[in-house]
Symmetry: C2
Subunit: 697 residues, 2 copies
Amino acid sequence: MAGTEDRELESPLLERSDGVFGIMEDEDDEPSINTRADAIKYRWELNYQEAAIYLQEGENNERFETHPQTQDALPAYLIVHNIWFYLIELFASILIMALALCEAPAVDIFEVTEYVHGSLELFGLSIIALGLGMKLRWLGWKQFFTHKRTAMKAFCLFIMYLEAIVVIIRQASHFRVTRAFRPIFLIDCHFLGGVRRVLRQIFQSLPPIVDMMVLLFYFLIIFSVLGFYLFAPVADNSYFSTISDSIISLFVLFTTANYPDVMMPAYHNSRWSVIFFIIFLSLELYFLTNLLLAVVYDTFTGIEKNKFKKLFMHKRTGAAKAFRLLCSRKHYGKLSFTHFQGLLRYYRPSLKKHAILLAFKTLDKSESGILSLDEFYDVYEVTRLSWASKRDQRLWFENLLRPLDCPFRCIYRLVTSKVFNVFIYLVIAANGILFFVRTILISHNHDSDYIKEQLSQVTWYDWLFVGIYGAECLLKIIGFGVKGYFRSGWNVFDFVITVSAIFGVLTTIVDTDLYYVVVLRPLRLLRLFKVKKRYRDVLATSYVLLPRLWSVCIVLVIMYYFYAIIGMELFHYLPLENCCQNTSFANYYSNSSQFMEFFYLNNFNDIIYSYVTLFELTVVNNWHITMSGVAEVKGEWSRVYFIVFYLSSMVVVTIIVAFILEAFIFRMQYKYNRGNTTEEKDNTNVNHPIAKNGGFE
Amino acid sequence: MAGTEDRELESPLLERSDGVFGIMEDEDDEPSINTRADAIKYRWELNYQEAAIYLQEGENNERFETHPQTQDALPAYLIVHNIWFYLIELFASILIMALALCEAPAVDIFEVTEYVHGSLELFGLSIIALGLGMKLRWLGWKQFFTHKRTAMKAFCLFIMYLEAIVVIIRQASHFRVTRAFRPIFLIDCHFLGGVRRVLRQIFQSLPPIVDMMVLLFYFLIIFSVLGFYLFAPVADNSYFSTISDSIISLFVLFTTANYPDVMMPAYHNSRWSVIFFIIFLSLELYFLTNLLLAVVYDTFTGIEKNKFKKLFMHKRTGAAKAFRLLCSRKHYGKLSFTHFQGLLRYYRPSLKKHAILLAFKTLDKSESGILSLDEFYDVYEVTRLSWASKRDQRLWFENLLRPLDCPFRCIYRLVTSKVFNVFIYLVIAANGILFFVRTILISHNHDSDYIKEQLSQVTWYDWLFVGIYGAECLLKIIGFGVKGYFRSGWNVFDFVITVSAIFGVLTTIVDTDLYYVVVLRPLRLLRLFKVKKRYRDVLATSYVLLPRLWSVCIVLVIMYYFYAIIGMELFHYLPLENCCQNTSFANYYSNSSQFMEFFYLNNFNDIIYSYVTLFELTVVNNWHITMSGVAEVKGEWSRVYFIVFYLSSMVVVTIIVAFILEAFIFRMQYKYNRGNTTEEKDNTNVNHPIAKNGGFE
């Protein structure tokens, strides 16, 4: 309220412009508020609030009609669009998904009765239902069911409620594949915008992918028929003995998982048969698969561009809608600081006063003291900037009195000198070589106790190296100042590695059983990669890619969840151990032969086993052995599950490839466009603490 | 001589401009030629010839200093730069490479005595030496040895001569890995410009690839050490028992060829160990490998662009150099038709007079009747155009008298109608379904004689389908005319398929043993893919890619040759059959177990076996079994050969992927830039005979 000064008491240009937030039809219909000034203030507050909502909707890519239409629905809207409610919803979604750990077939340590996990499920579902109910409150029934995601969510919720109640009543799990749809709640959470985006991209890339897959399958079928005709007459060629064998063999061959085994009987019979396989693999594996990648890459970058344009336009529309609400009658088509401040009180409650002022000044390019719509469009970016005073950019010890800063200046010169850095790199290299040599020495002795003993020893040079790293770190912190040091991504990287190295040495002393912390040691060697420009590029690209790769990972986890649930429902507790006698892959499942392969562990006996099995299927090699094992025990139709999963994971993996390609090439071109001057600067600037771009250049 | 008319008797502007081809220092120093006119004519002829050489050098991307410096070297130059000599050289290079078939270890049917293959080798080498000797004639010793490729070729030639003589004298092959360098002669052949280009691109892409591989290996080593520390103490885990086992296991794991086998013992011991493998594979396989692809793609497109620019500039320089020689004193800085014609007599001897005139008119954009240098630059493209009279563009029967053309017009209308094409597509689809159904029916009977018998039967519907295809083909040829029909790539495609289908049916009748021609049948189904736009794009891209993919294939063949020779020298006649008892892969090599895997066939016993083995290694799956088998018999160091080959093939395969990606994306963007109007036209134009772009749109 402090923002609305007296001289700004003219009423807003727009009141209830869209029939939203309305309490006053027009000014004659004055409500029971004491003075006119209060009424106007109140109206402004409402406009601020709605404008903030418009900006949020623009930012989150939500439809502008989906916010409250009446005043009394507003509380519900504000509750649901609240960080705490977001967190509760996220927790509930994860809880519901995590129930797979304790539902039959459960992971041993998480096993609970149906009553417990059924209740937990009802609890989680109720939280989701609460949010959904509130949404219904302001969306209205019609909007509710036309908004696809919400309608689907409501439908799933209904089914799952029913099933959870049935489980509690029957005190037994039934065949419940609907659990596979649980991730839908997670996807809908506020924090998973990136995941929704990746999923949207996947679905939009599907048509061309499906087209290319039809082409792939078409050739696969043709070659299967040919393979059958050519190789079925060959004795003992079980790979092509019937047409369905032929199709499955060639599908597995397309994934390369049974090559050259599938060729050998035919090859043994006639050396010419290799031509068939060379043509098949050249066409399917080397040509069409890469064409698929090209098509996906092409579609993907197209969608990316389009999406960016659409999001940009959506944000502009949101900004324009907000702007209209903030114009006063006095400054027609302009926005004064008072109202800007009023808006930001709702839109970015955490912003300090000086930050609001700076944001306003940044937006006000014409320096007229008042914003036009064109200037206002940048509100999203500008309000997200953080501000640092110019004093911070100087080295910290420059604030000290003259004689006092001298040692620090020396340290600064030391740590920024080339000699110092070369020395550190040499130390790291020496450490790496020693580490490796010691491993080779240990490796000569095959006794496992000896290895453990060796690993738990901390030698004098371990101490030396850790000491040097610690000293380097300390000197740099002193030289650059704490703030300056941690402003560079590379320094944070060094710091984390150094601390974990020290931690590794210390834990080994405390408890010799913890020899696993040895994994922390070679991490230090990573620092060597800063030396070369290309590696810095790669590391920096990885850093830039991280948030989006993270989204892709979550998509994978969700996809795995979907298939894991179905796999568990279909294939739990299959007797895979010692199965498949008299088949060519019998020894993979045997638990008695000389070379145990333990393939019976690749099962769907609980959600964790399932995840591991699905990961193995994703990696593709020898996946057909898992498939054949299950098919042998459960029936030939089980193969459908594995093939469908293979195709899904192929789509996702192809998209990951396209995605990494696109991100990397984009960054390279971006760097290239910035020109060589900047690149030169990069080379000399490695250890300088002040750098843009998240500290990674 | 007919071209130099009397009015053009003014002498050329430049005579012996660069001290080349000179016979006259200046006009005072007149030689023993009868009249002045004859002298001038003679001088012009020399200039034409040199200008043509400049254009050729520009086109072939050769240095401009590498042509004859004196008049007497010219015959040698003309002999070597002659299509017949090119062919002889190509033949000699292929002969030398093909000798690997009959040198020990030889392919059985090609086995000859050392005397025969030694003599053949000397013969081939002599032809190459002849060409090289002639080159020396005009290059001079200094140029000869500074031109890298020529010097290398001479060196190889020298060594191989020596070795061939030694073989003939000793009457026995010795350890002769230098044979691996034989492809160098092939690469240097005139016709393999595309191959040289691909090789150059590969070598130029190497530095970033090597950088990325260092990164890959760095992480590989770190993970190997960790793997050793973590899993060596696990009982029975032979994959990680020493540090070298650990490195090899993880290298094979990086190629996914031993997953999940490598994980199973550790997984059996502790379910947590899966984390190690997930992190390793995510990092190495999914992240770094794709980053490698991105880096290669990035470098590749950059090189491509640069190369194109450089070649373009080189051609311009060539054109400018030629132009200078063709200017007369009268038309300063201009080129008249007479001299243009004179040039083309040497540059494109096969061009007809009207084609030369048309080329001149096309170049003469200003229509001044005389060419400027800017107009002359396009000489390369324009002289390669082929011309068709406008009459050809019309339908052929329009030349007939009125009542006669009527049936043809009807046929034309029929074959261009939608109904007709839909009918043909339906017939093809029906044929495909029948073919597949019949296969399934045959597939129920496992007797191989029954299958052969079934396949050699030609049913009534086979006749029907072949009849329909033949009729369609005939009608189209009548409708469009022979020329019009074959002008479209799609029609050629249809025609070839139809003819091979008819051929397939006929041969089956003639000889029932030739049931292998059944492979021709499903080819017809390929025609179905013309229906959809995306498939037409894919097919057209494939067609455009063909010449360059062909170059890549030759590069692969050459690389395989290199490794096959080394493999044969190192590993021929290894006793792989029944080797490796007491190892986990013993049953792959066993020739007695229930399920024979015949892996002993993956050997280096002759060049064809070697090629097949190398192809299997390229496909990567189960390659470690071949490697381990050889390592077991020949010694652990043999692994180096396989790992180096894996890395080479990985580079080539990555470049193939980058190459297909680039070509496809380029074409898509090109299509996109041409806009949607053209695309619409494409849709309706499928069966229209007149189409640009090689007939494939």
